[in-house]
Symmetry: C2
Subunit: 250 residues, 2 copies
DNA sequence: CGTTCTCTTGACCAGCATCAAAATTTGTGG
DNA sequence: CCACAAATTTTGATGCTGGTCAAGAGAACG
């Protein structure tokens, strides 16, 4: 479905921060404050560095695929990732997007329940499964951090269940635009700018809609003066209050 | 929405098992093997007993309500519970059903994200928030068990997201009938019998459908010989293989 | 610049929702 | 146990939201 495009856009990475995301130097890692690694005190970072390995992906490249045996866990240190599952006939559900600081395979499954693909150039730390499990067993604060992350993930999943089960197309798109900016700590949002590193099709498959419906709904929001388009992948929310009403939760 | 019905059907409880679910005697609790309490060794059960309190609910009674401050966590020891959230205009999403052994408030929220109501007579153990938090801090195996439960809950939530985002009405109902029996360890399912302690409306609000669509879909499954009706709240799956195909996942 | 991919817009359609009413089940009181 | 009332379920008729099909406009890349 998604073609493996080639694109070496290293600028976004270096522009992001002067200290490179790198397991060799966890202490200087720009993603650490947003990551599960923040639970490990500076003095013990070597333990983390010892089992981490840096992975770099170009746009479209998979970090792992649905059905593959899970041999590691991943911490995203830069870029954005799409998590998706397929039904046998090709219908796709985007299960979520992961940004800087997000941890994949919280629940340490034997087999990956979904495919993870880079939406833009991505760096991630890979922790080999066995050694990571051993580290968790040894360091309780890591397990506590994992539980906190799992709780967050559950709350988000439940918000998505409400969205998919009971919201209209307009409410889904509005909810998405409100929620997305808060998900990426590497791109702190300024005055209502929403960065959309994914395609309309990705949004549609995330929101249980079609790409045409997403496009029409965004056009409607523009026409109604709720958002304005800065570029194809960047919107500005001009009426956040109205957008919140349209999103429709309490 | 749900009226507080009065019904003291104690028989289902005693019929369920000879050893009463009771915190005073955790060692004899029939729900313990299915519960998070299984993580606490027999020798230390007093610690659990000390902070537990038994709650009994008649059908329709709430265990807690969406928006209420969360002052405790609950372990269901008998019966079935409906978890639901409301949109301001009254649309309802049933977030799930909880059965014997299920633990509510895994993520220890400050405010309950949903309402929990008894579908039938229910007994539960209530753990006061503070004291439970203290016990977790003290006993690591409890935290490990919570993480394992949270992982399970995440996997289930993700299955539901796929269902709500991309499945047809027929696929949703079929998936539901396949999944439900495995959720209630207190009623081990014999040869494809599915117990449905919830109404059509509850199923509909769980599956993102209307009660009419659920009813029509069940009628269709009956007409096609995939299931047969034993009573209004009990079906028998006569063609499990065909049902699995209709459910449509890999 | 031309090729390709993505996005937008329009016309039409289908699956499921809505509205309505009858059938069945459950609960209540004699 | 029966009769009646209330709630739930089933079934039918009709409508609407969002999906499908199609074509053209705009970006991105070589």
């Amino acid at each position: 479905m998604a073609k493996t495009a080639r694109l070496s856009d290293r600028d976004t990475l270096t522009a992001l921060s002067t200290c490179a995301p790198s397991p060799q130097r966890c202490a200087q890692c720009s993603a650490r404050p947003f990551s599960i690694c923040a639970a490990v005190p500076d003095a013990d970072l070597e333990q983390l560095e010892a089992i981490a390995e840096t992975v770099r992906l170009e746009r479209g490249a998979p970090l792992f695929r649905e059905g593959d045996p899970a041999t590691g866990a991943y911490n995203i240190t830069a870029g954005a990732v799409r998590l998706s599952r397929l039904l046998p006939d090709g219908r796709r559900q985007v299960m979520g997007f992961a940004f800087t600081g997000d941890f994949l395979n919280l629940d340490r499954p034997d087999v990956h329940p979904w495919t993870a693909e880079a939406l833009e150039p991505v760096t991630a730390c890979r922790f080999a499964r066995r050694r990571f499990d051993a580290l968790i067993a040894e360091r309780r604060e890591l397990e506590t951090a994992l539980l906190a992350r799992a709780s967050q993930a559950l709350a988000l999943a439940n918000a998505q269940i409400l969205l998919l089960g009971r919201k209209t197309a307009l409410e889904r798109v509005a909810s998405f635009l409100l929620r997305l900016p808060g998900c990426d700590p590497a791109h702190p949002t300024q005055d209502g700018v929403v960065r959309l590193p994914m395609t309309r099709s990705d949004m549609a498959d995330y929101l249980g809609l079609t790409l045409e419906t997403v496009s029409r709904t965004l056009s409607r929001l523009k026409r109604d003066g709720v958002v304005s388009q800065r570029s194809i992948s960047e919107l500005a929310v001009t009426a956040p209050d109205r957008l919140a009403v349209l999103a429709g939760d309490l």
